[in-house]
Amino acid sequence: MARTCGIRIGPRRYELLVLDGSAKKHKIVAFEMGEFPQGGEDPLGDAVATLKAAVKSSGAPVESVGIAIDTGLAAFRDIKLPDLDESKLEQVIKFEVEGELPQWNIDDVVIDFMKLDAASGETRLLVTAVPKVDLEREIEVCTRAGVEPLEVELEATAMVNAAMSADICRVDEAQVLVHVGETSTAVVVVDGGVLRSMRAIHIGALSHEPGKPSPGAEPDAPAAAMPEEAEAAEDSEADDLPLVIVDEEELKRMQEQAVRRIRRELGRTMSGARTANPIDAVYVCGWELPGLVGEPVLDVPVYELDVFEEDSGNPMEGAAPLVVPYGVALRQFGAAAVPARLRREELRYTGAFERVELPLAIAALLLVTLLAVFNIFELKQVKLRDADVNTWRESSNNFMVGYLDPMPKELADYLKRIEAENEPIAIETVDENGRTSVRDYNPQVDSDRSRLEQISYTAAILRREVKKLDDQLGNTGEVTQPQSALEGLTMVLGTLAELEGQIGRVAVREVDSQYQLGRSGKPDSVLVVLDLTFFADSTVRATENSEKFKNALDTKEWTVDVEMTNSSPFEEGELKGVTVDGFKVLCDFSNVPRAEEGQA
């Protein structure tokens, strides 16, 4: 069930009422009445504190609060305008009423209006003007007290709404509704259930007392009087001047004087009222003044305005002051016959955030849910991907462990450490024959590294170890190994083998191959020295063959120099030929292209 709160803020008093239910059926769940502290150094602060305490003690719903302010702050004008729609009226009303309110700058007042009737192409409007400064003050009191009023209206309109809801204003009768405030009295004429006129009499229950500022108002800032209220105001001012309370007798006399004046003004209002139906009663609410209720005015009976249903939570006695806050609270339910709107222009309460805060809250919850689901989804995905990476890691480790012989100490220590960090998990497997077996599985979770980092770390260890061994074994290219005497010897003898069948038979008697360290700018080399015997059918042919061998060596790209100086012919029976001692071949293999390891 919804709860609403209506507050009347008067110059001296406040009344607060909380309704629970709906426009049709509701119950008063709390009400508060009291006076604002007077005479303090900070009247506004005192009023705020008092109202705050009342709001707190009543448990008023701060998000649905309306307030009614003193009708005496307002001026009312009855004007006629051509038939216009609502939006057009909103645009022109200020210009139309400006001339009617000479006492105020039109920009300093809030203008509200309600249509009274329309005939012959004309609309009659009841215009209400309230100084913005007064409205701001009352709104500030509420705001500082922790309640932001959604709407502000006058006591008069709140009273009408309360009376309408109680079905007091019937269609075949006219009534006068009266709200007696501290310094002013609101008078409303209702005819046939329709509002006809509204006025403020600047006489209230406490008009005879000195200094009656609104809470927080400057004591010397009375509301400007309207011309039509001038007479009553003058009476009031005249009576107010010598305000010194002497004793109870004097007080009683002044109250009686106030009642008489109110009754006189009521009489004037009633006699001037042009109603289609006869006025059948005067209903009074607000401040209870002795002698006002019960005594007829112009033969019209005066009753207390009782708008509360039986057992609806209202007090048995003294409920008259609660009529206005009741009307305000009803308006918050949307049950307003007279929907006055004084929070306009810069004072407008948009309540945009309040209207959307519930959908926003639901959206926020949905967002949290969505994000939570997203997180769960991502977490599961991360776990799955992590398991995939771990499969690669385990396969790699299994392969590596099989091939690493021996395993590098750093890697072995690392694997040992992560195994020690984890408790083995027993994994039960069933083979194709239905036999169950249990094996221990160590997850090898590294507290310092993710699965991905574990793989990278393992590779890094191996890279380091391989590099270390490459460095030690001279595989890095930093150190050029000496040229091989074996290679030099092999290449020279290989050349000899290439000439098989072309240079006859050759005997190798001694071989000497030595690596020569390059000095004085000369490159490294290998010096191969051979002792050879060339056999032929003649010494000339044998010499030619040795020359062929020398020439063949000269064509090799690795040959630096070939020297054949000491040869001598021989003839031993059928054996003929030449002997060559110290056949020197200087080789350099530094620029010989070589096949890379693993290539053919």
Binding site: V368, L371, W392, F399, A459, Q472, N475, Q481, S484
Partner: protein, 182 residues
Amino acid sequence: MKSLLSNMNLARWIMLTSLLLSLVLAVTGYTLHQRRTELEDALAGRVPRTTQEIQNLALRYTALRAEADRVGLTGQNDPMTYLAGLASMDKVALGNVDLRNPPSTTPRKGVVDEKYTIRSADDRAVVRTKIANYMYRIEEKSRRMRVTGVNISREGSLKPWEYGNDRWKWNLEVTSRQKVEP
């Protein structure tokens, strides 16, 4: 702050709490998403590459380690023993060899040549294939060792035109060039 708290209602509390929770969840969600993307990218390229590299490195490490063992770098063996071991291999069988390690030389700044001379311990002549196989094995088994000196001569005192018995006297010099650690 006090007035802010006093204006709070259920919807506003829900919004505030949800906002804070959303921020936390957004951060964790983004982190998880990044992590998942990173893992997926890694599975598409980096992980297979790295594991393949690990396999190659494991094989290479094993080969290098074996080589290091052979040349005595790991303390498992020393070059003299290694060279002596090679001399007794199948198809080499040179018998007892006389291995010497003369003082190392410094051919260039920062490098040192460790030299080993090898000859038959009893000056016995052998067939040339054994000598050739021995030299081949020395260079084939180690990248750090080079045969830098070979001297082979026929057994006996023969005339230049006389055939021998294909048995040869031999002596070798093997050099291992190493970087000098500063």
